[in-house]
Symmetry: C3
């Protein structure tokens, strides 16, 4: 974990974000906080040039529209040609046909290095919008100690099928490739009362992947641990009158002040 | 007031926001702070699906454009079909032809449960862009103790004409249906030095309306009291070096930490 | 400096911003903090009306797209007709063909009162995208004490050629017309770890220019001093657990609490 974080600070990965306008400012600030450098661009005539000069591409469909969807494909394919890291955050897949279909089309046409979402979004990618869901359909809707075993199996299977790292975040976070799954217990429930902690994590995970090309699974897990640990540190700095808006600042601040040693000590995970 | 707020926290209303990109993050965070759940979506191919799964729709024209305007109509009509709560925040109506006409077209084609704006925006909706303004035209440009009586009459008349709750916010806030008008004296002038307290209130009011279908006027008034009271609490937590950026956080924090009892005690209103 | 700031607070300049969605909220809040009033509008059918009622126009190409680019030209030309102040922030010029060409087309078709960017962006405007760069090409990529003399000459030359104030911000900030160059040493390196301090400065500079039509060079320099001095004050208010997200708030807060006297004392500059 330590080394993964230190590589981000050392390499200052430049990350191109095609992301939603709700949480974009926090994504930019958390990328700066962890040691990366953000660029935002979503026009179809701009994204190829921009992604070319970056090391990684973070595609987040949170406020997708008919003008930015083509940009996601253009940038994704260009990033693939250049061997850049590409991450997908399928925000709201399952909640609308446009989101579901865009996410499914993206994973068909673009090679992703990692996909990060909640269990519901990842299940949508796994089962598509069809009605025949097969055996995986009995994966529960939340990852808890009771459902952990099945969720790990599911994460590894989807990783094998889609050929990329799968990060499922929630009360317990899973970061899996086809063989191994990090089970991470950092974070606090109150993070769910802030908009965009997931989007922030996706941006940061892209930076961690870019900076650690030889150790991608661990790097993705390190980003998840860092975000959750920042949630714990941020919470410990809360005063009685503070609420979710201040908590948002304190989490990004905690990433800013974190280093590899602190992350190594604070990360709570096992590999299964 | 107490019960209205508690119903928001109990029912966790899901609110679809088609809103401007200036204050959207704060709208999302204040919705989470009060106990609601926000979704943002503005593409014409996405909004019908998204509004279908929500309980309320908040339409804010702050950064309207030719691609999001059709989405406002599509989502509004779908929400009407489903009997969902729909609120309009006519940001800048009167400041440009596009804003004025879009707002007027929206109130013609979509049935709104509530409209929230400042006195200038509401007057634009009342009088249209025509030059013949009729008797109402002598409503003053600010609601003060001197102009209160006329403003209350105006608010009730517009409510009767448009068939929805009218919330006029300013130094004194009015929340009226055709028969009754809440006159609310919470809040602080310094809230005007933060971008988006109005947009935040519109999002929060939508959540309050969704959670209190049998008591809509009181629910709308409760949202206004909550926002203003949060402005008072937030201000009381300010330190000498704090300014409008920190104040923004403290107001959302105050909503996060507020409960029905506190609101009941802090709300300053009379019904006229 | 004192008088320039006081004129902003006295005149409350209304600034129309066509700006990126990454930092737009901070731009609005810093404009309110300094005493201005922000309006955001970027649709081609809306911008002419909106810019007409404002005193200044701030064009920032940070997330330009094919729908907002025409709006920049429409608003810019309208502002020119009305004699309004117009400022360009050529974010990312040089990083993509679309950004470079849009910025070059804008400075050809719109008369700007000021252009604010980093040295790399300003060099792109100066030399275009062609390969023959001429004598100026040996301007260094950072303004330091070693490169200061050449950078001042460059800034004055570009100002003469483009006919507007040139503000080059970095470790040392330059604000030049063809004859004089303010060399400003306010600010802190940590401001680079926050997204959008440059965008904020562009918004604020527009307000300073609008409020000081008879003293534009000094007004532009005053805005740069104010931003940098706010960075110093904001930093002095940081606690050990604070990071870049809180620093962002403290800088805007410092502008909010600043007055002309404080700026006069805190500004560190010489005119060359």
């Amino acid at each position: 974990m330590k080394k993964c974080f230190e590589n981000v600070r050392k390499n200052v990965p430049l990350v191109h974000n095609i992301t939603n306008y709700v949480t974009v400012n926090d994504v930019a600030n958390v990328l700066l906080a962890c040691g990366g450098s953000p660029i935002m661009s979503d026009d179809s005539e701009d994204v190829v040039d921009i992604t070319t000069i970056c090391g990684g591409l973070n595609i987040n469909i949170g406020t997708l529209n008919q003008h930015t969807i083509p940009s996601m494909f253009l940038a994704g394919k260009r990033a693939n040609e250049l061997g850049h890291t590409v991450l997908l955050d399928p925000v709201g897949a399952g909640a609308s046909a446009l989101r579901t279909n865009t996410a499914l089309d993206l994973i068909r046409d673009v090679k992703f290095h990692a996909i990060r979402g909640n269990i519901s979004e990842i299940k949508t990618l796994a089962f598509g919008s069809g009605s025949t869901k097969g055996v995986d359909a009995d994966v529960a809707d939340a990852v808890t100690d009771e459902t952990l075993e099945a969720a790990i199996t599911f994460a590894k299977e989807i990783s094998a099928r889609l050929g990329c790292i799968i990060a499922i975040t929630g009360a317990i976070d899973l970061v899996a490739d086809k063989d191994n799954c990090y089970v991470i217990r950092n974070g606090r429930a109150e993070m769910g009362k802030i908009t965009g902690t997931g989007c922030q994590l996706s941006g940061m995970m892209t930076a961690f992947l870019v900076a650690n090309p030889d150790n991608e699974l661990k790097a993705a897990a390190a980003a998840v641990c860092a975000m959750g640990f920042a949630g714990e540190i941020g919470w410990s700095n809360m005063k009685p009158e503070d609420g979710n808006s201040t908590y948002r600042n304190r989490i990004i601040d905690a990433i800013y002040n974190m280093d590899g040693d602190a992350l190594e000590k604070g990360a709570k995970y096992e590999v299964r």
